[in-house]
C-alpha cells in the first residue's frame, strides 16, 4: 500500500513534525508517516518526544496546581505580550514555530489539568507542601520518603528491576547483549 508522506531513509522528520506527532490536537489522530516504519532513528526520536511531553506534564503539575487565578491571568497576559512582540509579519513560519511550540505545550498541559474540574476542586498531595518546614523537618521528610520507597521495594534504581531480570523472561543467549 502506498502511504502518504513517504520519505527517503535519509530524509528524517524535523523537530516540528515530531512535535506534532508527539502532541496531536485533541481528538485528531495523527497519520504516522511511512518514514517512521523504516527509520529507527526517527522512531526513537518520536518516542523521546512523547516521553518529554509526559515528563513536562509531570514536572509542571505541582507548580501549575498551586497557581491562583490571578497568576494564570498574568501568565496568559505575558504569553499574549510575547506573541505580539514576536509576531512581526514576514519573519517566517520557522521562527513562529519556535515560540509556538512551547506555548502550545504549556497551554495543553494547562488544559489537561483544568479540563472538567472547577478551580476549587484542585487537589495537591497533602504531603507535598514543604513550604514552612524547618531544615531538620525537610531532612526528616526526605528520610521518611526514602524509607517508604526502600521498604516497599519501589526503587528507581537498586531494586529488583535493576538487579535481576523479570522472572519468566529467559536469559539472552551467551554473547548476545540486550537491546
Amino acid at each position: 500500500m502506498e502511504l502518504e508522506n513517504r520519505r527517503s531513509p535519509d530524509d528524517h522528520l524535523t523537530d516540528d513534525a515530531l512535535f506534532a506527532l508527539a502532541l496531536p490536537a485533541a481528538g485528531v489522530p495523527e497519520v504516522l508517516p511511512a518514514h517512521l516504519l523504516e527509520c529507527p532513528q526517527c522512531s526513537r526520536a518520536l518516542a523521546d518526544w512523547k516521553n518529554a511531553v509526559r515528563d513536562l506534564a509531570d514536572a509542571d503539575e505541582d507548580v501549575l496546581e498551586k497557581r491562583t487565578g490571578e497568576e494564570w491571568s498574568a501568565v496568559e497576559d505575558s504569553t499574549l505580550s510575547a506573541i505580539r512582540r514576536e509576531g512581526t509579519p514576514g519573519r517566517g513560519r520557522v521562527r513562529t514555530l519556535r515560540w509556538a511550540l512551547p506555548v502550545a505545550a504549556s497551554l495543553l498541559v494547562f488544559a489537561l489539568l483544568v479540563s472538567g474540574r472547577p478551580d476549587s476542586a484542585r487537589v495537591s498531595e497533602p504531603s507535598d507542601d514543604t513550604a514552612g518546614l524547618s531544615a531538620q523537618d525537610k531532612a526528616d521528610d526526605a528520610l521518611l520518603r526514602d524509607v517508604d520507597r526502600l521498604a516497599s521495594g519501589d526503587e528507581s534504581s537498586g531494586g529488583w528491576g535493576a538487579l535481576a531480570p523479570d522472572p519468566g523472561i529467559p536469559d539472552p543467549p551467551q554473547g548476545e547483549g540486550r537491546s
Binding site: S152, G161, L163
Partner: protein
C-alpha cells in the same frame, strides 16, 4: 540453591508489596503540614506526641536505610561480578532481611502514630491520601502507564 534463590525473589515480588504499606498514608512528615493538620484537626499535643514517636524511631530508620542500601550494593556487586549462585542467594537473603527489618521499624512507628490519633482522624488521614491518589490517576490516566525502560536515552 536454585529453589532458595527463586523463593527469595518470589517472596520479594509477591509478599513485599503486600506488606509494604500498612496504611495508605501521606508521605513524609505529614504531621508538620498545615493542610493535613487542619484537615484532620490535629492538636498541638498530638503533633508533639507524633514527633516524639518519630524521634525515637529515627535512629533505627537511619540505620535500617543505611544497612539496606549497603546490602543492595553488595548484591549488585556480586551480580555484576558474576559471583556464584550460592553467594548471590546469600546476598539476596541479606537484602530481604535488611528490608524486612526496615519495614518492621516503619510499621511499628506508624502503628504508634495511629494510637496517638482518634479513629476518625486516622480514617480521614488515610482517606484524604486515597482521594488524592484517585484524582491524580483520573487526571493523568489519559497518559499511558510509564515504564521504567520507556525513558529518553
Amino acid at each position: 540453591m536454585k529453589k532458595k534463590l527463586a523463593g527469595a525473589v518470589l517472596f520479594a515480588a509477591l509478599v513485599g508489596p503486600a506488606v509494604a504499606r500498612p496504611a495508605d498514608l501521606p508521605e513524609g512528615k505529614w504531621w508538620k503540614r498545615p493542610r493535613v493538620v487542619a484537615e484532620i484537626n490535629l492538636t498541638p499535643d498530638q503533633v508533639r506526641v507524633i514527633e516524639d514517636i518519630f524521634a525515637r524511631a529515627r535512629p533505627k530508620l537511619i540505620d535500617g536505610k543505611g544497612e539496606l542500601e549497603k546490602r543492595q550494593g553488595d548484591l549488585q556487586d556480586a551480580i555484576e561480578s558474576n559471583a556464584d549462585r550460592r553467594d548471590i542467594a546469600a546476598k539476596v537473603e541479606a537484602v530481604e532481611n535488611a528490608r524486612a527489618e526496615l519495614q518492621k521499624t516503619r510499621i511499628v512507628m506508624v502503628l504508634d502514630m495511629k494510637q496517638a490519633l482518634k479513629p476518625e482522624q486516622w480514617e480521614r488521614l488515610v482517606r484524604m491520601h486515597q482521594e488524592f491518589r484517585r484524582e491524580r490517576r483520573e487526571r493523568f490516566g489519559r497518559f499511558p502507564e510509564r515504564r521504567r525502560d520507556d525513558r529518553p536515552r
